[in-house]
């Protein structure tokens, strides 16, 4: 009993650590600028200032940023699904000459930091006239070593008999992947999709480097620009902008958390 109470207390503490900054962001986004500065800080604003959201939205072409972010993040997801699923299936299920070596190469790419390759990639995209385009932001992430690795593990857990049964049922390899394997690793796939979506939705560095004007600029760049307005950090507006930024992620998480929990307590296909 005592252990249980302790357990719950520890968990509550953890929740607090993670939830507090978030709560603070929400609270600040509804304050007036002077209210954000008072000491001791107040959690609940006297009168919620919803106008902060409108103001944040007006500081730049936010609809455009939003659409850009959406196109880029979803575009990356689609490309990744098209590349990692067949790759992971091949690595998990086929034994071909050089398969181990190739998989090793894929794994090595996991260890190369983005900062190391952005310059050559920039030059390459520039030569291909892809700077300031959605494609330029999507293509460098069209595949994912992490995704291949994760999915390969998932595919490897599927019993061989299932695939053999499907082959006897006259299913083509594509059909086996689409109708049998993918549904079986859905929790893994959803988790990866969410990770990828969050990472690219929030990505600041790459769009910053690969865009020089507003055509393809994404939301995080837009939010960062709020700070520069009038030389003063308008924290309340900035926090409102941040909430606009994370809202889609929260929605995505809300719909996929069931799968994510399953992916982490995954104990194989029975």
């Amino acid at each position: 009993m005592a252990l249980r109470v302790l357990n719950v207390l520890c968990l509550l503490l953890l929740v607090l650590v993670f939830a507090m900054p978030f709560g603070w962001m929400l609270s600040t986004s509804l304050k007036t600028l002077p209210e954000t500065m008072i000491f001791p800080p107040a959690w609940i604003p006297k009168q919620p200032v919803w106008e902060n959201y409108a103001e944040a939205w007006k500081t730049g072409p936010f609809l455009k940023y939003f659409m850009n972010s959406f196109i880029v993040a979803i575009g990356i997801l689609i490309c990744q699904a098209l590349t990692i699923i067949p790759a992971a299936y091949a690595f998990a299920r086929y034994k071909f000459a050089g398969s181990n070596l190739l998989f090793g190469v894929v794994m090595v790419t996991l260890m190369i930091p983005a900062q190391l390759i952005f310059l050559p990639v920039y030059l390459e995209l520039s030569a291909l006239k892809l700077l300031n385009t959605h494609l330029g932001l999507i293509l460098p992430f069209a595949s994912s070593a992490f995704g291949i690795f994760l999915l390969r593990q998932g595919f490897m857990q599927v019993p061989e008999e299932l695939i053999e049964a499907a082959r006897l049922d006259q299913a083509s390899e594509w059909k086996i992947i689409v109708r049998l394997m993918v549904p079986l690793v859905k929790p893994v796939l959803v988790t990866f999709a969410l990770f990828s979506f969050i990472a690219h939705w929030n990505d600041y560095f790459w769009p910053l480097v690969m865009t020089t004007n507003e055509t393809a600029r994404t939301l995080p760049l837009g939010i960062a620009k709020i700070r520069e307005v009038e030389g003063v950090a308008t924290w309340n507006v900035l926090m409102a902008g941040n909430l606009i930024l994370v809202a889609p992620i929260l929605v995505a998480f809300f719909f996929s958390q069931r799968h994510i929990i399953r992916a982490f307590v995954y104990s194989g296909v029975k």
Binding site: P159, E161, L162, E164, A165, A166, R167, L168, D169, Q170, A171, S172, K175, R179, L180, P183, L184, K186, V269, K270
Partner: protein, 356 residues
């Protein structure tokens, strides 16, 4: 329906030869059981017929057509796996339907076939369940339905009953026999359980270390084993085998060396009043097992340990027993394990031997 022919089949995994020069004809419409201890190559043989394994050498023919290079889905075979291999994300209906869809069967036709099959195996109430929601026996039925719905020429079953409990296993055994009668399709069945093989098959192929020991009807296997391996593999308990050098009081006359002699536990009779003629053994009872209708005794004689099985007789309590095996029930084997025929017991020695 189709006959299956395996001609000079070899299977090698890297340097290891699993099957070497195997020749077998499985008759059209037969219920053929491949049986043997684990690792004897029976599953590999089965998987080569299904096309899940490629033969390193030789030719496989189904219905007279060479299928070595035909994909599993196009061989017109259906398989039931040991763990059923049902598609976990599909419903029972989806499982049965998958193969039909892949063959391009029209929707109306598919629904008719599924309804038919579901009725036969008693799944009509469960079509919208997922495999996880089914019991072992029900899953087994789904696996059967999925195989049957394709109306294949050959049914392949890889230890399909080994995941079921004893009672259900007996029930499914009967159902499979009935199913085979009803369909008249060639059944190829793999098991390591000789009881299963004997009770279901009308043709049994005993395998050991990748070599066919004997392929025959159940009764032929039981009464006329071709070698020591088959003799000891078929029957519960197995055939008793004694070294001829230890078999005191028995003088044999033969053209070749007799290394072993054997007899079935159920052919030995307790020598109650000395009425029976035959090979006599005296020994000490080590264990008694009573199964109700039958009793099994483990007896230690100077020549070795052997079993005796009696039917519908009261359990014997005495420590030392005398047992007699009629001469015509003795089997003889050469040093290589091959069955020897035409071995005669020398009559002159009989009187002396009788007194042991």
């Amino acid at each position: 329906m189709a006959k299956i022919e395996l001609i000079n089949i070899c299977k090698k995994y890297k340097d290891e030869t699993v099957i070497d020069d195997l020749n077998l004809t499985i008759k059209d419409g037969s219920f053929t059981v491949l049986v043997g201890p684990s690792g004897c190559g029976k599953s590999t043989t089965l998987r080569m017929i299904a096309g899940l394994e490629t033969a390193t050498g030789g030719e496989i023919r189904i219905g007279g057509k060479r299928v070595n290079d035909t994909a599993p889905g196009h061989r017109d075979v259906a398989m039931v796996f040991q763990n059923y291999a049902l598609y976990p994300t599909m419903t029972v209906r989806g499982n049965i339907e998958f193969g039909l869809k892949n063959r391009g069967v029209a929707k109306a036709e598919r629904e008719k076939l599924i309804a038919e099959i579901a009725e036969i195996v008693g799944l009509d109430q469960l079509l919208d369940r997922k495999p996880q929601q089914l019991s072992g026996g029900q899953r087994q039925r789904v696996a059967l339905a999925r195989a049957m719905v394709k109306k294949p020429k050959v049914f392949i079953l890889d230890e399909p009953l080994s995941n079921l409990d004893a009672k259900l296993r007996n029930q499914m055994r009967t159902e499979l026999i009935q199913l085979h009668r009803r369909l008249g399709t060639t059944f190829v069945y793999v098991t390591h359980d000789q009881v299963e093989a004997m009770s279901m098959g009308d043709e049994i192929v005993v395998m050991h270390q990748g070599v066919i020991q004997q392929a025959d009807t159940p009764m032929k296997l039981y009464h006329e084993p071709a070698n020591l391996f088959t003799a000891q593999f078929i029957g519960t308990p197995a055939m008793n085998v004694l070294d001829t050098r230890d078999a005191a009081g028995l003088s044999l006359e033969s053209e070749s060396t007799v290394a072993k002699l054997g007899f079935r536990p159920e052919q030995a009779v307790f020598d109650w009043g000395g009425m029976h003629e035959g090979y006599r053994l005296t020994g000490e009872v080590m264990t008694r097992e009573s199964l109700g209708a039958e009793n099994i005794y483990q007896i230690k004689a100077p020549g070795g340990v052997f079993f005796v099985k009696t039917f519908l007789e009261p359990l014997r309590e005495e420590q030392t027993v005398r047992v007699v095996v009629p001469y015509e029930q003795l089997y003889y084997f050469g040093p290589d394990g091959k069955r020897l025929y035409g071995v005669r017991v020398q009559e002159r020695q009989l009187a002396a031997a009788g007194g042991v």
